[in-house]
Amino acid sequence: MRAALVIAAIGVMTAGGAQAEAFKCPKVGGSFTFGQEANVNSLDQMTSNTISTRNIAMNMFEALTTRDENNNPILDLADRMAEAPDHLSYTFTLRPGVKFHNGKPLTSADVVASWDRYSKVGLDRQIFDAVAGWEAPDAMTFVVKMKTAQPTFIEKLSSFSIPVVIVPAEAKDDPPQQLRSIGTGPWQLAQSVPGSFVTLKRYDGYTPNTHFEQRTGFGGYKQACFDQVTFRIVTEGGARVAGLETGELNAVEDVPTKSVDRLKGNANVKLLPLNNWWIQIGVGNATQPPTDDVRVRQAIQAVLDMDEIMDAATDGNYKLNYGFAYPNQPDYVTTGKDTYNQKNADKAKKLLAEAGYKGQPVVLLTNKDYSSMYNAALVVQEQLKAIGINAELKVVDWPTSVQMSQKSDSGWNIFFSGWGTQPALGALATMAFLAPPGAQYRPKDDKDDPDVLAAWRDMSNLPTKDERKAAFGRMQQVILERAYVFPFGSLTKVQASRANVAGFVPFRIPRMSNVYFTN
């Protein structure tokens, strides 16, 4: 039913056609430079899960489906989609006139080859678990056959986390991380110097999606207004701000909070805050003593003062938010609210006494690569010490902390992290973290929590959206009440552009289409 709703939504968008005049660049030309905070290694969007890759690659590549401005699934390279009445097949008809950056017309053979490659090397290829196969009955038709009906298949397929981008058939056997950079998007690769910059140039052969009038999310009616866009890697926040002030950079991501007040007084700069960038979070280890005892985890949960934690983590740029969805999202539920921000030391001490806590170390696993995670851990450590918990910091670098967090027996009790892309994609993507085989699924002694599993199955398989939302509510409640994780709040990320840049709307990934200089 969920899929049916999606199809209905898509059907309205595709069948209706453009109602108003389509976007036209008010000014064409110019060279736009974007200050990017993280280095980009590979532009292989099928095998990279980093934001830095997405920042650039999502402007070059397109997929059959994507997400709109409100994160709803929409068609992109597909003109139409039909779901079989038994929900066991999806038939996509490709948008006519689409050409790759090498000039070759897009056909269903390219889609088959792209899906074949993704099924071999794509990082998120588990989305094909319920898929029996795919075929191309003619040059413009692509059919996906399912093993079993999966109401959330299109939602998963349209994810922009590691999307199934469509590349020319000849790229089918390109090794992981070495995908040739030929897509169908409005921007094509001009030059890439890893560690320094990536330059994209306007693809004049681009065919926009005329079912829309404007860009929406990663899809819609896209137009490249600049001659070229350069993503310059500027890892140091101060240097990014300096580049923006001098005008060398036309827009930047992640303005340091300390610089925000100064930039507010600069008439040449527009600040573009992006609320709910990620959920600042601590993941509890239910296998490692003493947090294997739910009462110890609940004691930790009871004492936490989220304002203090988030203020230190973000320099004041935050919103308190319990749970795993944001208030502006359709999935938002209020279950488990009582567990959040209790600041109740007496309750915490009582729970510790009941658990027979005798001062065993509680290891807080954090890193200094992300100052928000490190600062959050520092404050949590002090709050835990205040109720007699022997909290110890273990500071390593980010890749090490991720790897350690994936093993319950690697000597940690709370792993400090931030969830960004998944909460933006919706509850299904977020809760996948906490259900098998999710990255943060750490059931006590590797024995599944049946309540979590039951709620997760319902979230994935119940036919209606409302039923799945209710299941999400149940899952959130169980996760919070059993203190498997500790969501601290949501972090605001500030992007910024020069005042003469129009159309640059803050989004999870900077979109360079429909952006132009006003003078």
Partner: protein
């Protein structure tokens, strides 16, 4: 000389072997592997296992080592996991950038460092001496990262004279290269200027007290000849030794400077490789940089003979 050159080059082989063993071992000792960097936070255990298998990281350590050394014997440094390019090619793309930046910084260091040191020695215990040594001490003490940020604020944001970052190759535009390299080179040079100025000053003070300098003065030689030909020439041996060390410091110091100014050099490449656990890149890149530094040290040794005719590398 030729024999010595061959001997020293042969002596470099165990050094390179040691570096390769240490880098291979250290990278495996650090927790975390490339699968974490590639798959990211949301990686499921299955995704991590798949990536490890693709990269051959599920193989025993000995097998991985044999694979690496087997390739090395055939002149193949492997392929960068994260960049998807050959390690040799990636390094060779970046090396000229770091070398050009280091050469620029070295030129500044030599001119200012030796100049300030000589001046301080000639004006010992005057305000000139104290000012030169105070600036030298500042250069040594202030982190070049902080200095670089100050330069950006003063010269890029404040005065608008230079760009805040980025890099233009000399071959593309000499003026562009000068503009993009000046702030990084100066911030990189300041630490070494301090070091060189202090060494030059102390060596010059010692030489200026020698009999032959007194004799040169007594026979009425002009001051510039006394200082340049008799004093400075004889002070060059210890200075040259320090310059050799400075070249190594410039290459290692480029890590911070390249990051701050967004310069695609070898320092930034290796830092990213270490953080991303790009084993082949770290191992191969370090090997090439070590080979380069071995050659620099060899060059310094050869220079001794040129500077001091008494030194002859003969049996």
């Amino acid at each position: 000389m030729g024999r010595l050159l061959l001997l020293r080059l042969a002596g470099a082989v165990p050094v390179l072997l040691l570096v390769s063993v240490v880098s291979f071992g250290l990278m495996r000792l650090i927790p975390g592997d490339p699968s974490a960097a590639i798959a990211g936070l949301s990686a499921t255990p299955r995704m991590v296992a798949q990536i490890r298998e693709q990269l051959g990281l599920d193989q025993p350590l000995l097998t991985q080592a044999l694979h690496w050394y087997g390739g090395l014997l055939q002149g193949d440094l492997g392929r960068s996991i994260l960049l998807g390019q050959s390690v040799f090619w990636s390094t060779m793309q970046r090396l000229p950038v770091t070398m050009a930046l280091s050469a620029y910084a070295l030129a500044i260091t030599l001119v200012v460092g030796i100049g300030a040191g000589v001046l301080a020695a000639l004006r010992q215990n005057t305000w000139v001496d104290q000012a030169a040594m105070m600036v030298a001490m500042l250069g040594i003490s202030v982190p070049n990262f902080f200095l670089g940020l100050l330069f950006i604020i003063w010269f890029a944001v404040g005065l608008g004279w230079l760009p805040t970052g980025g890099y233009i190759a000399f071959t593309d535009s000499p003026w562009g290269w000068f503009q993009t390299s000046t702030m990084p080179a100066v911030s990189l040079a300041l630490l070494n200027i301090g070091l060189l100025a202090r060494i030059t000053r102390s060596t010059m003070l010692e030489v200026l007290r020698q009999d032959y300098v007194r004799t040169a003065r007594a026979k009425g030689l002009p001051r510039h000849l006394v200082v340049g030909k008799h004093a400075l020439a004889n002070a060059m041996i210890p200075i040259t030794t320090v310059v050799g060390i400075i070249v190594s410091l410039l290459v290692s110091g480029s890590v911070v400077t390249e990051t701050l100014f967004s310069i695609p050099g070898i320092g930034q490449l290796l830092t990213s490789a270490v953080l991303g656990r790009d084993y082949p890149m770290v191992q191969g890149g370090l090997l090439l940089v070590t080979a380069l530094l071995v050659l620099v040290n060899l060059g310094v040794d050869m220079l001794y003979a040129v500077l001091d005719p008494r030194i002859r590398y003969e049996r």
